[in-house]
């Protein structure tokens, strides 16, 4: 060590690289660990459901999915009714939500006066913020009686006797059942699809729209021939996102679906969904097989939602790439 003068470099030198690098690596490990945690969480949930359900799958095999016998006393569990109820209510939800969402998106991007677009968009998004238990309560105390008094009798009277659709609308109009549950689910799902649809509708490059208009296209023709084809992936992705939500919804459905382990073609009849069955029966499943059957139901739901949401994400990722985003 020589007695040189203190140079500027020594004064301005940063902290010794070693500790900086050590702390850096620690930080990177911590954050990477957290990211891995997310991966492990999903794997953990899937594995834990599969493990818990293995007794049911081993005992019943494929019959678990095809049998509609849910008999807790004799230990026979078939998931057909909850699966059917989940799919039917979600289908009704989408049939209602998709046209309404696209209509809302069209309205917000093309028809509404500019100063109203913000507030209306916020209002529609508020529908998504309302907790699902509120939907359930409103469904049971307000909407179901409305359906029972005004809508279902009309449906039963006018459509209950017709050739093809008759069986869909038979049964006492009590207001709770697949139709009401499907409609409530549909309303819940609208904001999710509408938000994405609106975003991508407004992201259609103006030159595309303007050239169509210049060629004399009406508003509807622009939507049909330019906007929808351009945004097809995104809209389908949004629909899958809405489907994923509808499949897993518990509270709104438990209130108005009726908890009946009955397979019925009629939309006016009560039914059951996977989530509602688990919510109603899990705390009292008193045999291992019963508990395992419910967890097996949870596993099926998880897998189906996983697939649906993966498709949604893939479609939406493609759209983001189209629009130049890096995520």
């Amino acid at each position: 060590m020589n007695a040189t003068a203190i140079t500027n470099e020594m004064i301005e030198a940063p902290a010794p690289r070693k500790s900086g690098a050590g702390a850096d690596r620690a930080f990177e490990w911590i954050t990477a660990g957290a990211a891995w945690f997310v991966l492990l969480l999903l794997a953990g949930i899937a594995l834990s459901m599969a493990w818990g359900g293995r007794l049911a799958f081993e005992t019943f095999g494929w019959r678990f999915i095809t049998s509609s016998d849910w008999d807790a006393v004799n230990g026979k569990f078939g998931a057909l009714v909850p699966i059917y109820g989940t799919l039917a209510t979600s289908a009704i939800a989408l049939i209602i939500a998709v046209p309404i969402s696209i209509g809302i998106a069209l309205f917000l991007t093309d028809i509404a006066p500019r100063w109203t677009r913000g507030p209306i968009a916020i209002a529609i998004e508020l529908l998504a913020a309302i907790p699902s238990i509120i939907y359930g309560m409103w469904g049971l105390f307000v909407f179901a009686p409305f359906m029972a008094t005004h809508v279902e009798p009309w449906l039963a009277d006018h459509l209950g006797n017709k050739a093809l659709v008759g069986p869909l609308f038979s049964g006492p109009p009590i207001g709770i059942g697949m139709l009401t549950a499907g409609i409530v689910l549909g309303i819940m799902v609208v904001p999710f699809i509408a938000a994405v649809a609106r975003e991508v509708f407004s992201a259609v490059p103006p030159p595309l729209r303007e050239s169509a208009i210049a060629l004399g296209a009406t508003r509807w023709e622009v939507l049909r021939s330019v906007t929808l084809p351009y945004t097809r992936s995104a809209v389908i992705g949004a629909i899958f996102l809405g489907l994923g939500r509808a499949l897993g919804e518990t509270m709104a459905v438990t209130f108005v679906l009726g908890n009946a382990h009955d397979l019925s073609l009629s939309l006016l009849m009560p039914s059951n969904s996977i989530a509602a069955a688990i919510a109603n029966e899990f705390t009292e499943a008193d045999t291992d097989l019963y508990r395992s059957s419910l967890i097996a139901l949870g596993f099926l739901l998880f897998v189906v939602t996983l697939i649906v949401l993966t498709i949604a994400k893939l479609l939406l990722m493609r759209v983001n790439r189209q629009m130049g985003r890096t995520s």
Partner: protein, 278 residues
Amino acid sequence: MAIPARRRAADITAFVFATLATALGLIFLFWILWMTLRQGAAALRPSLFMQMTPPPGASGGILNALYGSAMMILVAVVIGTPIGVAAGTYLAEHGRHTRVAKVASFINDILLSAPSIVIGLFVYELVVRSAGHFSGYAGALALGIILLPIIVRTTEESLRLIPDTLREAGFALGLPRWRVTRQIIYKAAMSAILTGILLGVARIAGETAPLLFTALNNQFWSADLNAPLANLPVVIFQYAMSPYDEWHSLAWAGAFVLTAFVLILNILVRLLARKGRK
């Protein structure tokens, strides 16, 4: 040149339909909010916030439920925020182009919309079965797992929004990476991350299904998170599905409080976002 009648009819139909669709959406929104307001406001009284959940036939309040929910949300935030912010940091910073980060981000978005009842089952198997009893901690854990992907997503997005020039400036000053992230990037993204936490809280405040077999419920006042704990969503569920009129009125009051809380949080978030943009 006039547009032929057929095309004009199609256009007008689309116009009318879109307007009706929006009107329908708004009608349902106001119908739900109005009923909640009307039924809930009728049941609002000071005893709501001063008394405990009553047995059937008696009158009371929902204080223990509000407290239990607040405690579980707090613990969920304490659990979920550090992990969520750390994971989001990795996805946006260190792991920006790694495979792990891409997969983790993908998986995270799936977890975001996963059915919450499955998460409740998972925590039941993991915690309640092995501990041998229901607990507020189990409920908080379930809520934390639901909260986590929201925080990861908002952290990742807000960190990504910060221009790289800020990071480069930090490096140019000789700061080690972790310092750049902590002292510069987090500061810049703080309000966005906070917004994410608020949104997450708004979401988990209303979650009922996962609490049904983790925290269960409690008729009395309790501050013990290691035992069944009263909470607002399960109380609303129990009371709404009962035949008692006093319970129904308490359920509506609870629904009103919950909805007001969630909506206020949402508005707060929007105001914060607007302020951040300025």
